[in-house]
Symmetry: C2
Subunit: 311 residues, 2 copies
């Protein structure tokens, strides 16, 4: 049983109540607590040796911990509001380094008007672990879920994908402004942020929406880092595979009606001229994920990173 299977078994038995609009299984939980807007609720943890190393500058650790959660708020077209910070460190960990973790985190929080309203430091003897809990808001008619993709939708992705581990995973910009603009301008049917890899995260949209997809290999935007890595080491993934399966891109993946695709691309180029946006394929009624390249169409069996199991 891997993590995905475990979650699939646990989720149906989780207690609920009348204020829950979206429970486990989307980028954020969505609650109706009587305010004009929905409340978005999200946690995310990063662990030394997995998401960063003992050599990572502490400011970048703090920044990354918060940025990951902000990216999930973006994926629902929300606005982040307030965060709590849990830092678990070895007993001998320098308090000044905790201060530096906060400094990186506070700087990013301030950029996005996020209040840091508390948290705790506790002990984890062998390694640093940081968990962020984040509250956001979203207008009730603007909340974008994973489950709204429809056959015929165009599939878009921001940025360039793959090789994030070589640099970007510590410095990525959560696409909050872009997601808010997209949802204000267009009827975005489904959206997710890329944390586990394009192939894996697109499958989350397909499963939630009960549809399939065809991707065009030539349209998938590949990062410079993924290309350089492929040249430098013969053992590494080919660049296209890296773009499909590498984790931690933290770009937006979304679908809109096919007729919105061209106006959306035009509008985007005017609004965000520096950030690439690519139409990479289409949603199909036929289930499954397929990739079209110069040799024709093939079923895409490769997954992004799955916890608890080597893929």
């Amino acid at each position: 049983m891997n993590e995905v299977e475990l979650i699939a078994r646990l989720v149906p038995s989780l207690p609920s109540n009348g204020s829950v609009v979206v429970a486990a299984g989307d980028d954020c939980a969505v609650l109706d607590l009587g305010a004009p807007d929905y409340i978005l609720f999200k946690t995310d943890a990063i662990v030394e040796g997995i998401h960063f190393t003992a050599e990572t500058p502490p400011e970048k650790i703090g920044r990354k911990a918060l940025a990951r959660c902000l990216s999930d708020i973006a994926a629902m077209a929300g606005k982040p509001n307030s965060a709590l910070v849990t830092i678990a460190v070895p007993l001998e960990f320098e308090p000044a380094r905790i201060g530096a973790i906060y400094a990186g985190l506070n700087a990013l929080a301030s950029e996005h008007s996020v209040a840091i309203v508390g948290g705790e430091t506790t002990t984890n003897p062998e390694r640093v672990l940081i968990s962020i809990a984040l509250i956001g808001t979203v207008e009730k008619d603007k909340c974008v879920r994973r489950s709204g993709a429809k056959a015929g939708d165009a599939i878009f992705v921001t940025g360039k994908l793959g090789g994030s581990i070589h640099a970007r995973h510590l410095d990525f910009e959560p696409r909050l402004e872009e997601a808010r603009w997209l949802r204000a301008q267009y009827n975005i049917h489904a959206m997710i942020d890329l944390s586990d890899g394009l192939a894996s995260d697109l499958r989350h949209i397909l499963a939630a929406s009960d549809v399939g997809a065809e991707l065009m290999a030539s349209a998938i935007p590949i990062s410079r880092e993924a290309k350089v890595a492929a040249r430098a080491e013969s053992s590494t993934k080919p660049p296209l595979l890296a773009a499909l399966t590498d984790g931690e891109d933290f770009e937006l993946l979304f679908t809109v009606s096919g007729r919105d695709a061209v106006p959306l691309l035009d509008g985007w180029k005017k609004k965000f001229p520096k950030l690439p946006l690519a139409c990479i394929g289409k949603i199909t009624a036929e289930p499954g994920l397929r990739l079209r390249d110069k040799n024709g169409m093939k079923s895409l069996t490769v997954h992004g990173y799955t916890h608890f199991e080597k893929s």
Copy 2:
């Protein structure tokens, strides 16, 4: 620099925004997000080897993780609403044990109508760590903070204190119903839940309220476990010291105007006949914490457990 000093240095530089009513430094953060009620926001983490052991039944680990957060919601007279669960476990950890952690947590959540709306499992190679993020609500005119204690207030505590480590720390009942009733019936000036020990947690109220206190040694309710432990091992703390300094009692400590003390005690005995409530002293304008026993008054220098430093 210990944890308390570190937090004192970090807190003033934390970013804020217009929705923050209470930031770091109380039992929960309090947000005004446009709903009729305030939003309460809290996280708490428990770590194997510190808050439980490898032998603790996983159901009790899950229960304790949530119960600690519920106790913080109680301390502000709030109602818990929704929780996210982060479970970090070694790679070889049995998925069935994760299911058992959730089972204990879900059972307690259901008792209090708390929705479990997601979370994640991640890897912490050496030990289990569970972090809970909790959202609650409280009527704007009923939210009780640490900062409202006034000279002349009577100080009350629920339950019996000390020796929680011998059993109760895994099975305590968060005092949600009691706190809601207290605040509905009386003008509770200040409240906190006992997590670090009576002496330490009372000092949090005194510091936040800029007052002092006198405790009566003979009035402090001492648990049976603390008395048994003191008899069994010559090296252990005397029972009164255990009641003053042992952590994890998770009882309510609160203050009310002196003139409310007797009616409150009477009302309590009718409403909660099985749960002891004791008036243990009074709030003073003179700063500091003092203890009156048969030998007279002495300044109380002993602290509860402080992280990062032996006390």
